[in-house]
Symmetry: C2
Subunit: 219 residues, 2 copies
């Protein structure tokens, strides 16, 4: 397909597509004339993924390029590659306070995160630890909870980790419904990003619902 | 306690506390001299809540003031008030695309959100609909999924809504461990905000873990 059709099918403007091409977030099309190139379904899929990361996930271009390198690293086993690509996703810069390694509260939060991961048996997370953006995001969030005096211990966190495991099963089932290995890796990254606001909004709706449900049922 | 102690116990600088006082996010202390005021435990709790909303939740000051008005509205039944306060929490401005009411994709997303809420039996959300920031966030997220060609239908969303219900039970159990009604309402709002990065980071870790667990189990 030509650029105009790629734009129409993706809902992304031609100017934005050209920007992604310049930034090498999207591989070049097959040149068919001095001024025109031809794009295929793989371009469309990649474009959707880039859009999800940049537009919804607000991931900086340089970091998005790193995630795509993990997505394209076919030296890895398929599932390892999928895990590594999701693993390499930076978190939203605002989502957690920056960790100060010398701060005792951060140190305590790091120990609690390690204890949680050990307790629920997440061996991959346990091995990689602080090298993962997701792990650093967890440490940052626990630091903030500890600093403000809210619950942040393993006992409180374990039910959330167990529910996250169930979310992961739903996530991976959705991803594995995609046909090829390439599509699955791309979908894993895009759906991780795109389902975050879905999850947060559903939790808030469910919180309000549960609160109303408890009316009259004790305190 | 004096301002200096309030600052020390909350980890919030005196300059920031004075700013919150000026912005009426924090009620004034009891004046004990021309230059000094006395603060109590209620000030400390409120300060922590404000800090959670502004610092972690990145909620604009004017919106935070609206949430506090809901928190303080004691004309409402306790649980209704708690639901209303969480319900009034604005979502992160970046978390979802702004909804365009005339856009057919947004319209379809709105219908799907309504179908989901009806299917899982969330009557409070069903009655309030689009008036809630959380509901608008859901519609925005579904619009983005639909636009980019990823799953966004009730069948795919239902497992996430069911898991959100379980999250809400964990959330409300944590909130109800607080002693007084005032503390519970404040904790409900603060923990909604502060546990969002916890939840997102745990989901990403669990996704990577689950992906690695499926290695060798057929793609």
């Amino acid at each position: 397909m030509r650029l105009a059709e790629l734009s129409e099918r993706s809902g992304v403007s031609t100017a934005t597509i050209k920007y992604y091409l310049r930034e090498k977030l999207l591989p070049p099309g097959r040149r068919v004339s001095a001024t025109q190139a031809e794009y295929d379904e793989a371009h469309l899929r990649r474009l959707r993924l880039v859009r999800a990361m940049i537009q919804v996930g607000r991931i900086p271009v340089a970091r998005a390029r790193e995630v795509l390198a993990a997505v394209d690293d076919d030296s890895l086993d398929h599932h390892v590659r999928m895990g590594a690509a999701v693993w390499s996703l930076p978190h939203h810069p605002d989502a957690a306070a920056p960790a100060d390694p010398d701060d005792p509260v951060t140190e305590a939060a790091r120990a609690e995160a390690a204890a949680l991961v050990a307790k629920v048996g997440w061996t991959f997370a346990g091995e990689q630890g602080d090298q993962s953006p997701a792990y650093r995001m967890l440490v940052g969030a626990l630091t903030e909870l500890a600093r403000l005096g809210y619950p942040w211990d393993v006992a409180h966190l374990t039910p959330y980790a167990r529910l996250a495991e169930r979310l992961a099963v739903a996530d991976l089932d959705m991803v594995q419904a995609y046909g090829s290995a390439e599509e699955q890796v791309e979908a894993a990254v895009a759906l991780t990003v795109l389902y975050e606001p879905v999850l947060l909004s559903l939790r808030r709706l469910a919180d309000a619902e549960e609160s109303n449900r408890r009316v009259g049922g004790g305190s």
